[in-house]
Each structure stands twice: as structure tokens, then as C-alpha cells.
């Protein structure tokens, strides 16, 4: 598009955008001094940009971000998330010692797979063993306690 085919308004917009070739930009600057319409077009273009920038900001309703955050699922389903890491429960237990794991699992009731209350207590005694003074030899666990607690005893 050449200068002759542009209106003054279009020239002013292109000038402010820095999109005019050097020759056309110089010609437009000369027009600013000699043609009142050019100065008015530039002034109106600047005024529109001022208005666009200074429009009153639209603020989201209070609490929208919190509502959205509350509605998001805790973990992402699908294959991609499986590669990310263990389940939240496993992750939460990951950094704890064995003894604490047993205590927490018992507290949360996730030790239900234990066949009976006595078996459950035996598990807890084993789990608490390192902290207390066991009255009997600590049994050697064939499977980690968390695995037994989460998935139950292996059928034999």
C-alpha cells in the first residue's frame, strides 16, 4: 500500500506503529506541519490508543480463583500422570520411617486388611519395634508393611 492509497487515518496509525517505510514516514512528518488534517489524524490515533489502554479493568468476581482451585481434581488422570509419581498416600508416606508408617496407617484405618485385631496389633508391634522395647523377637517381614497394609496379605 502506497502513501497515495492510504487515508490520513491509516497513515497516522501506521506511523505510530513504526510500519511506514522511512520515505513515507518523513513525508508524513512533513505533512504534520503543513496539513492540519494530518496532525488531527495523529492526535486522534494517539487518543484512541490512550483510551484502549486506559479502559477500566475488568476484575473477576471475588473468590473466583479460589472456587476454580477448589474444583480442580487432586491428581491428573491418564498415562502422563502415572509417570509423574506415586499416589498421594504413597508419596505422603514416602519420606517417613517404617515405624511411623505403621502408626499412620493404623490411625487412618488403612490397616484394615489385617486379618484380625490381633494380627493388626502384631503388625503395629513390629512397626513400633525400633522405638519401643519388643518383648519378643521382631519378625522379619517378607513384604514391606505399607504393601501389606495397602494391598492385604498375599494369598498362600
Amino acid at each position: 500500500m502506497t502513501e497515495s492509497s492510504r487515508t490520513l487515518e491509516e497513515l497516522a496509525e501506521a506511523y505510530l506503529d513504526g510500519d511506514l517505510p522511512p520515505g513515507e514516514a518523513l513525508a508524513f512528518e512533513r505533512d504534520l506541519a503543513s496539513r492540519p488534517g494530518a496532525a488531527a489524524a495523529l492526535s486522534a490515533a494517539l487518543a484512541l490508543r490512550d483510551l484502549l489502554v486506559s479502559l477500566p479493568p475488568l476484575a473477576p468476581p471475588p473468590g473466583l480463583a479460589q472456587r476454580i482451585a477448589g474444583s480442580l481434581p487432586l491428581r491428573t488422570p491418564g498415562k502422563a500422570s502415572e509417570a509423574v509419581g506415586p499416589s498421594p498416600l504413597r508419596a505422603a508416606l514416602g519420606g517417613l520411617g517404617w515405624a511411623f508408617r505403621g502408626t499412620i496407617l493404623a490411625t487412618l484405618g488403612t490397616a484394615a486388611p489385617a486379618a484380625s485385631a490381633s494380627a493388626g496389633m502384631a503388625q503395629l508391634r513390629w512397626a513400633l519395634g525400633p522405638l519401643g522395647a519388643p518383648a519378643e523377637p521382631v519378625p522379619r517381614a517378607r513384604r514391606p508393611l505399607w504393601r501389606r497394609a495397602l494391598f492385604g496379605r498375599r494369598a498362600r
Partner: protein, 164 residues
């Protein structure tokens, strides 16, 4: 999320012209991002990704309503600010220039409203607007340019007063 909720909400209001829909689309956008977060490249800025997700979510919603808008609102042009019919001096003097602009913006296509919003309200560069919308930079510049020229055509008297 708190940081980008205003951006998503504003873009939703500008494009969909409905605060309720903007809230809905905000929730949809963050849910989509939450689900596809593994695909996010942390070496790139988050803003354009958020804006792109929001922009396309709004476009998808508009696809279903565009036909209704055209068929159901034949008098839409009546809402275009009539520079000759209004008293621009009074409008400018009473600080209604912004209100006139908002009404004029509503008559632009939703995509142009989004481009202007991202460019001037969110302060993104042409390149960032291009990244956010997936529209080539040259096209972004052209569309913004044309949108401004249209706005000026509608608002010329008020702008003349505003600029002096």
C-alpha cells in the same frame, strides 16, 4: 492461578460478552491446563500459554453461538455508536469516551476484540499476541490496525475532543 485468573476472565468477558460465560470459561481453561500440565514447557513463559488456552476455549464457545448471533440479532448495528447522532462534545466532556469505546468494541468481531484486549489491556507485544492466539504476527498487526481504523471511524468526533 490467582495471577492469571484476571487475564482469562477479562478475555472471556471481551470475547463472549457475558460475565457468567467468562466465569465458566475460566474454570474450563484452568481445568484444561491442569490436565495437560505435563505438556507445558517450563522454559517458556506461562502467560502466552494461558492466553492461548483461554483464547481457543472462547473461540470454541463462540463457534456454537456465532450462527445464533447473526440470525437472532439483526439489529445489532443499531447498537453501533452513531457519531452523528450523539453529541460527542457532551460525551467526551462527561467522560463517556470510554463507555462509547466499550460499545464500539462490542461491534467488532470477537477475535478482533481479543487481539485488542491482549495488545492494549494485557500489554502484550504483537509477537506475544501472535503466540497467544496462533495467528501470524503480520496478520495480528493487520487485524489490530483495521480494528483501530474501524473504531476511529465510529468514535472520531469523541476522539477528536478526547485528544485535545
Amino acid at each position: 492461578m490467582v495471577r492469571f485468573t484476571p487475564l482469562v476472565y477479562r478475555l472471556g468477558v471481551r470475547m463472549l460478552r457475558s460475565e457468567a460465560e467468562a466465569e465458566d470459561v475460566s474454570q474450563e481453561v484452568f481445568l484444561r491446563m491442569h490436565r495437560s500440565f505435563e505438556a507445558y514447557d517450563p522454559t517458556r513463559p506461562l502467560g502466552p500459554w494461558v492466553a492461548r488456552t483461554a483464547y481457543h476455549a472462547c473461540l470454541r464457545r463462540l463457534e456454537g453461538t456465532a450462527r445464533i448471533e447473526r440470525a437472532g440479532d439483526p439489529e445489532a448495528l443499531d447498537a453501533v455508536p452513531d457519531a452523528g447522532g450523539k453529541d460527542p462534545e457532551k460525551a467526551a466532556l462527561s467522560g463517556e469516551a470510554s463507555a462509547l469505546l466499550l460499545r464500539a468494541l462490542e461491534e467488532l468481531p470477537a477475535q478482533d476484540r481479543a487481539l485488542l484486549d491482549l495488545r492494549y489491556q494485557e500489554g502484550l507485544s504483537d509477537a506475544e499476541v501472535s503466540e497467544a492466539t496462533g495467528i501470524p504476527v503480520g496478520t495480528v498487526k493487520t487485524r489490530i490496525f483495521r480494528a483501530r481504523v474501524r473504531l476511529r471511524g465510529w468514535l472520531e468526533p469523541a476522539l477528536g475532543r478526547h485528544g485535545t
